[in-house]
Every structure is written in structure tokens, then in C-alpha cells.
């Protein structure tokens, strides 16, 4: 029982991280049909920038802000200067973001070197909590909480605000939204920035327990893709359900079949694809 509870909580904390990544990926896809390979690089950059800032200021909050905002700025430049010129040319966009992911990975290796690093756990969240059956690290519980808050925030943003209504309109029929006089372009850039910032923030949040090292970008990216494929491209609800599914299954896989852990994820993905090629909540 204790084993399963620990695994479940581990899985959920990982799911929260995956949600930070996958929600941005799916938002960007839903709005702009961009399959962003550089999304893993955003995670990597966020974590590295936070590392530098936390070493200079010793403040986790400042590091989290710096990591997210830097990545948001990088995302805005990528979207405005490059991706917006290739609207709906998916193959060109994939190659473009792939090129950027190589550039970012190599630049990060150049700047921060090849050694693995770990962000320090914020002091207030150090130690562990007694859950009755087991002790669990406070920080990881906090990550679950952050994931829930972000999901709630995104849901409120999309369903309860005017901006959210514009976003939904642009997802459904961008041309019609333009025709109605809605300025879609700033919304696209803004949502790209939000998606990038979430991924960068994911890197910061994952830093204290997963660490940051060259190659972490291409380790988290497949998981984020598995999430959006299972959940359905473009669906926020799908990203949430997919994250929980992938996070928990990945942790069970790691505990039960450590060597096949990566691959065990692709079995549920294959099953979902075989039944619903557009994912659980996706639309054709």
C-alpha cells in the first residue's frame, strides 16, 4: 500500500511537470497548428537560466521568474520572426523548430557545459510531509499543487475571460475571427509566449528533482508528445488527462520495468491511436 501511494504521488508530481510542458505544446498547436520541436529546449533553457539566477541571487522565486520570462522572450522572437511566415506549412515549421532545438541545445552546452546540475530546493519547501502511510517530499507535493493551479488558471482564462473567447474563436475558425475584426496576430504571439513560458517554468520546477543536463530536452519532449497525442492535439482537457495518465504510467513503468520504462508509455499511446487516431479529446 505504501509502495503504491508513493508511486502514485511520484507519478502525479511528474504529471504536473508534464502538464506544464504539454499544455503549452497543445495550446500552440491548437491555435497555430505548429508542432513545436523546440518545446523541449524551452524546458532546458528555463532550467539553465534559473540555475544561473539562483546562483547569483539565491532566490528561487527570482530564478523561476527569470527562467519563464527569458523563454517567453525567446518564444516571441521565434514566432514573430520565423514561424509566422510559414502559416499552415507544417513541414516547414517542424524543420524550423527542429533547427532551433539543435541551436538551443548546442548553445546551452556551450554556455553551461556538459556537467549535470541540480537546482536547490527552495528552503520553505525542504523536508518531507507525514501523510500517515508514508513520508513524501514537500517540494514534490508543492509541484502537484502548482500543476493544479496552472490548470485551473488556464481553464479560467480560456472559458471565463474575453481573451479566452478570442482564443477559442481563433482555434475554431481563424479567418472568421479576423473577418469579425478581432486582432488575431497579437493573440497568437501572446499565447505562444504563454506556452513557451509554461515550458520554461516546467524546467525550473523540475530542476530540483530531475536536474538539468544536456539531453534533458530530448528526454522530456517525447513524454510531452505522448501526452498530447493521447489527450488529443489542441485540447487543454486532453493535456490534463494525458499528463496524469503518462505521469503515473511512466512512474509505474520505471518502478516495475526500469529498462523498458520509456517504451511502456508508448503502449497506451498506441492503444489510444488505434481506437481514436485524433486522441481522447482531439478533433479531426
Amino acid at each position: 500500500m505504501q509502495f503504491w501511494l508513493t508511486q502514485l504521488l511520484n507519478g502525479l508530481s511528474f504529471a504536473a511537470l508534464l502538464f506544464l510542458l504539454a499544455s503549452g505544446l497543445t495550446l500552440i498547436f491548437g491555435l497555430m497548428r505548429i508542432v513545436n520541436i523546440a518545446h523541449g529546449s524551452y524546458y532546458l533553457l528555463g532550467a539553465y537560466v534559473a540555475l544561473t539566477v539562483v546562483q547569483a541571487t539565491e532566490s528561487f522565486l527570482a530564478a523561476a521568474l527569470a527562467g519563464s520570462l527569458t523563454v517567453a522572450a525567446v518564444g516571441v522572437v521565434m514566432q514573430r520572426a520565423f514561424l509566422s511566415r510559414f502559416y499552415r506549412a507544417e513541414q516547414a515549421q517542424v524543420l524550423l523548430t527542429m533547427g532551433f532545438s539543435f541551436i538551443f541545445a548546442d548553445l546551452a552546452l556551450w554556455i553551461w557545459g556538459g556537467d549535470p546540475h541540480r537546482l536547490p530546493t527552495p528552503r520553505a519547501l525542504a523536508g518531507s510531509v507525514d501523510l500517515g502511510l508514508t513520508f513524501f517530499p514537500t517540494y514534490r507535493l508543492a509541484v502537484i499543487g502548482v500543476g493544479v493551479l496552472v490548470a485551473l488558471f488556464l481553464w479560467l482564462l480560456q472559458e471565463r475571460t474575453r481573451l479566452g473567447a478570442v482564443v477559442r474563436a481563433a482555434v475554431d475558425d481563424q479567418e472568421m475571427a479576423r473577418g469579425l475584426g478581432i486582432h488575431v496576430d497579437p493573440v497568437l504571439t501572446g499565447m505562444f509566449a504563454v506556452g513557451a513560458a509554461l515550458a520554461g517554468f516546467g524546467g525550473v520546477m523540475g530542476g530540483p528533482f530531475l536536474g538539468v543536463y544536456p539531453g534533458v530536452d530530448s528526454e522530456v519532449l517525447p513524454l510531452a508528445f505522448a501526452v498530447v497525442i493521447i489527450g488529443g492535439l489542441g485540447s487543454l482537457k486532453g493535456a490534463l488527462v494525458g499528463s496524469v495518465l503518462v505521469g503515473v504510467l511512466d512512474n509505474l513503468g520505471k518502478a516495475l520495468f526500469p529498462e523498458l520504462s520509456y517504451f511502456t508509455l508508448f503502449v497506451p499511446m498506441a492503444i489510444v491511436l488505434a481506437i481514436r487516431p485524433t486522441g481522447l479529446f482531439g478533433r479531426a
Partner: protein, 329 residues
């Protein structure tokens, strides 16, 4: 017709004379070009001819290479058996993955092949007891097929790989010119119309997928025996993306274009590596520049430049065949 035969005769003469005239290092680069070129040509069957760009093509190349590696180093299977086993493993993997991927088209196909490719990389990377994990599989024996001449001599190996490459290229050539190849092009242009004409378009796409995977497997088997070492980077998404880059650089939908693209990438990588360790950075820049300025490959890019120089109207760039034109916004 006579001119064409003359052209082929020149190509054949150059290919045969190469290892005798050029230093060993260039022979090595030409061999790598043939191996990666075969993989890129097989991808072009999907990306160029059928209009389905797979971003996980390195998975089949890698599956064959790893099969060869595992069989020869851990089970002492002779190369003559391990070689076809590698190709068969790639075909089997493509047959399974194809069932999942070909249910989708367009961007969904792209993202599913991407994810399957990444999952396969994960398997090679984490399943250490079988694949050697991060360390890969060293010590693959040379390609001794029981032929009268030894292939431990690099020149002999060159001719052996040249023969296998030419056979494979000939098969691909016949395939794209067969009625089957023509229907693939029909599907690329308008799948709905082909379906209306009574073609089983899914089956065509699926068969193309498996055939492309099988030829990539042939390249992978050759690679394992030539390189004598396989490791996870061989089936990383970066390798899959490089294959797509080769296809686009050379010109999608032309059979030998991807071979030229492979040559560009192989020679560029070796040139760059002589001066700097920042190959990934350069490769990334090449990706961005290709998409921005040469979406129709080097030939298309040169033609556009030429037209601009001559002051003619430049035809708008197209993001690969069968795709919508790139719209400026």
C-alpha cells in the same frame, strides 16, 4: 537517349574509379553518402512521392543496425544471416508502426511518426542489458558474406556496398515508375479522387510505409557492418530530421536528389568537424536557412536565384510537393 546512356556510363566510371584515385578518407565519405543516401531515398518514397513526411525514419535504420549489432556481438550470428535479419527487423517494425501511423495523414501522421521514432530511441537508450544503453554496441564484425574476396580491405568493401546500393536504387527506381508508384503520386495530389477511382488508398500508403522502412533497414544493416558500432544517436530524432533535410536539400520527389542531399550533409559535417565542435549549431542553422531560402532544395534555390538574377518573376516557394504554398503573412 544516347546522351542519357553516356551520362550513366560516366557516373558508373566515376563510381568504379573513386577508391582507386581518391584518398581513403574520401572513399569513406562517399560510402557514408551512399548509406545515408539510401535511407533518404527510401524516405523520399514517402515524403516526396506519397506526400507523407515521416519524422521517425531513423527508427527503421536504427532497428536494422541494432538487430545486426545484437545478433553479431551477443549471439555470434554470422554476418550473412545477421544482414538480412536486420532488414527483416526493420520491415517488421515498419509493418507495426505503419498500422498506427497510416491511419492518420498530414500533421497527425507527422507527429505520430515523430513520437514512435522517439519511443524507439528511448528503447535503445534505456534497455541497457540488450542494447548497451548509452554506450551502444561496439565490436560488430566486418561484413564477411563468404565471398571469394575479403571485405576487410576497404576498397573491396566499397565495391560490395556500391553493388548493394545500385541494386537497391534500381529497385526503388522501378518502384516509383511502376503503376504502384504512379498511384502513390496520385494519392499525394488528391487522395479523395484516387479513392473515388476505386483505389484502396490506405493500403497504398501502408505498403509505401513498409517498403520505405525496409529500404531504410537495408541502409541500417549496411551502416552497422560498415561503422561496426551502433549507439542511440543513430536513431535519435536528430537523425530522422537529418534524413528529412537530405530529402529537401536534394529535392523531394526526385529519386536521386536525396542522394545529393545526403552527400551535402555528410561532406559538410566532416568539413565543419575539422574546424569546430559546434556541428549541432551549424546543422541547426542549415535547417533554418533551408526552410527560409531553399524549401525546394539546392537545385530549386539555385533556379530561384538564377531567375531573380535574370530579373524574371520568381515562382512562389512551395513547402514540398502536395503541400499548400507558403503564404506570407
Amino acid at each position: 537517349m544516347g546522351l542519357r546512356w553516356l551520362g550513366w556510363a560516366v557516373v558508373a566510371a566515376v563510381a568504379l574509379a573513386l577508391p582507386q584515385v581518391l584518398p581513403l578518407y574520401f572513399t569513406h565519405l562517399v560510402l557514408l553518402t551512399m548509406i545515408y543516401g539510401l535511407s533518404a531515398m527510401s524516405l523520399d518514397l514517402l515524403a516526396g512521392y506519397t506526400g507523407l513526411t515521416s519524422f521517425g525514419h531513423a527508427a527503421y535504420f536504427g532497428a536494422a543496425a541494432y538487430t545486426v549489432g545484437i545478433l553479431t556481438t551477443q549471439h555470434r550470428v554470422p554476418p550473412a544471416l545477421a544482414f538480412p535479419a536486420g532488414v527483416a527487423a526493420a520491415a517488421a517494425l515498419a509493418a507495426v508502426y505503419g498500422l498506427l501511423a497510416t491511419r492518420a495523414v498530414g500533421v497527425y501522421f507527422l507527429i505520430i511518426t515523430l513520437a514512435l521514432g522517439m519511443g524507439t530511441w528511448g528503447l535503445a537508450y534505456r534497455w541497457s542489458s540488450v542494447t548497451g544503453g548509452d554506450n551502444g554496441l561496439p565490436g560488430i564484425p566486418p561484413l564477411e558474406l563468404g565471398l571469394p574476396w575479403s571485405t576487410s580491405d576497404p576498397k573491396h568493401l566499397y565495391y560490395l556496398i556500391l553493388v548493394i546500393f545500385c541494386l537497391a536504387a534500381f529497385l526503388l527506381y522501378r518502384l516509383v515508375r511502376s503503376p504502384f508508384g504512379l498511384s502513390l503520386r496520385g494519392i499525394r495530389e488528391s487522395e479523395g479522387r484516387m479513392r473515388m477511382l476505386g483505389y484502396n488508398t490506405w493500403l497504398h500508403r501502408y505498403v509505401a510505409f513498409v517498403v520505405a522502412g525496409t529500404f531504410a533497414g537495408l541502409a541500417g544493416s549496411l551502416y552497422a557492418f560498415y561503422n561496426r558500432f551502433v549507439s542511440p544517436p543513430d536513431l535519435h530524432i536528430a537523425a530522422s530530421a537529418e534524413a528529412v533535410l537530405m530529402v529537401i536539400l536534394g529535392g523531394a520527389g526526385t529519386l536521386f536528389g536525396p542522394l545529393v542531399g545526403a552527400g551535402i550533409v555528410v561532406f559538410l559535417r566532416n568539413l565543419v568537424s575539422a574546424y569546430t565542435h559546434r556541428w549541432m549549431l551549424i546543422l541547426g542553422v542549415v535547417f533554418v536557412l533551408t526552410v527560409m531560402y531553399a524549401p525546394q532544395g539546392v537545385a530549386g534555390g539555385a533556379r530561384a536565384l538564377w531567375a531573380r538574377w535574370r530579373g524574371r518573376a520568381v515562382t512562389p516557394p512551395v513547402a514540398g510537393p502536395g503541400k499548400e504554398p507558403v503564404a506570407e503573412r
